[in-house]
Amino acid sequence: MSNKMHIKLNVNGEDHEFLAEPRELLIHTLRERLNLTGPHVGCETSHCGACTVTIDGKSVKSCTMFVAQANGAEVTTIEGIGSPDALHVLQESFREHHGLQCGFCTPGMITRASKLLEENPNPTEEEVRFGMAGNLCRCTGYQNIVKSILAAAAELNAVKEAAQ
């Protein structure tokens, strides 16, 4: 019944292979097995978005996916987006514009925002709010989160233009 499965995952560009029960939730795989503690366990009921990661190009709440479903997938967590020595533009922007207070929701916010900007590099404020609606923040009131994402979009576009 509780037979373990052979799981293969590529997380932040690195291949991992291990045995796991299919019922293991992806958030626990990431945090406890792979020691990637950026994605947080917030509500654990697919509402808050603190556990958001990118799986094969989709923003997914990793508390609501079994590791078996992710078998063979490519996963990106906040650790794969930036590092303390080389912050992503979004991370810089959240710091600059006070897009966080306690910081608990921030990894999920930035992971989701990075996918949003990939799909829509030039969003309006309304599009940012619509696209970020799956991530809850109890501190900021969202104003500065939206400001941070819009500023990051402008910065990323400026970099892209300069490169052309």
Binding site: M1, S2, N3, M5, E21, P22, R23, E24, L25, E44, T45, S46, H47, G49, T52, K58, S59, V60, K61, T64, M65, F66, A68, Q69, N71, R112, L116, F130, G131, M132, A133, G134
Partner: protein
């Protein structure tokens, strides 16, 4: 919140799915995006000893538009519905509805098939499919059959689908005229307090056809023939809208819950349907 242990299967064709359902009977469940089933499993309100993940069944994917007919594979996600320019042209009500379901992350996973087959009265696609007079295609050990969306729902979580069948897709004629989906909810990600799907056609200022269905106002979605008929032949003036709303109120059967008492739900349903009719008429 860890669910009970289960065996996991990921077949890559419909035949493989049906064989597993046959083998394990009531102990097996199919899962598409899993965003209804997994929370229930985590709460241990659903026990699924054999979980069949549909993600590799390629035949259940894809959006087809042709000859005035639209077919959606069961695994088409809400995100894909929103993203699809062809659908936005031929049936904009799909995008309008999908945008009001859950949140971005859930919409990457949540599917049309799961939404219509689950039988949860809170789901938005069942009411929409009744409004569009869609057909659901089911496949079981004895082959394929079609059930009209308007005949599919029996009670909460009870549908015409047999235990050894799966829903493989939905199809409907591209709707003509004006269309609107209006939804009142308490917060992002919530189910509707009241929602209404309306499609109607206008010729020389007169309504020539109308279809109205309501979400989460009974234990099944409610297609209201009488509300639809109340608009036909009128110029959809305030009196006609009031008659349609009155007819709709006779067909719904809301219950009191944490979204409010019955009278409030009737009130919300009236406002939402009025808005949906006005919006569809403006667009017709």
């Amino acid at each position: 919140m860890i669910p009970a242990a289960f065996d996991y299967y990921r077949p890559n064709d419909v035949k493989g799915v049906i064989a597993l359902l046959n083998e394990h009977g009531d102990d097996a469940r199919v899962m598409a995006g899993g965003h209804s089933l997994i929370p229930m499993m985590k709460l241990r309100m659903a026990e699924v000893p054999h979980l069949i993940d549909l993600q590799d069944v390629v035949a259940l994917k894809g959006i087809a538009i042709g000859g005035g007919r639209i077919t959606l594979g069961a695994l088409v996600t809400q995100h894909e519905l929103i993203d699809h320019d062809g659908l936005a042209q031929t049936a904009p009500i799909l995008r309008e509805t999908a945008r009001q379901i859950a949140d971005p992350q859930v919409r990457y996973m949540g599917t049309v098939g799961g939404n219509v087959a689950n039988g949860d009265p809170g789901n938005d696609m069942p009411g929409l499919m009744q409004c569009l007079n869609a057909d659901f295609t089911l496949v079981g050990p004895d082959g394929e059959r079609t059930v009209a969306a308007r005949d599919f729902y029996e009670a909460a979580y009870m549908t015409a689908r047999e235990d050894d069948e799966i829903l493989v897709g939905v199809s409907f004629d591209a709707p003509k005229g004006g269309q609107a989906y209006e939804k009142q909810k308490r917060k992002i990600g919530d189910y509707a307090t009241a929602a209404a799907a309306v499609v109607l056609t206008k010729e020389n200022g007169t309504c020539t056809s109308a279809s109205i269905a309501m979400t989460n106002l009974s234990d099944i979605p409610v297609f209201s023939q009488d509300a639809s008929d109340a608009l036909i032949g009128t110029s959809v003036e305030d009196n006609a809208i009031r008659a349609a709303v009155a007819a709709m109120l006779k067909d719904i059967d809301p219950v009191e819950d944490n979204r409010g008492p019955v009278a409030f739900k009737q009130h919300a349903a009236s406002i939402i349907l009025t808005r949906a009719i006005k919006s569809a008429w403006d667009r017709a």
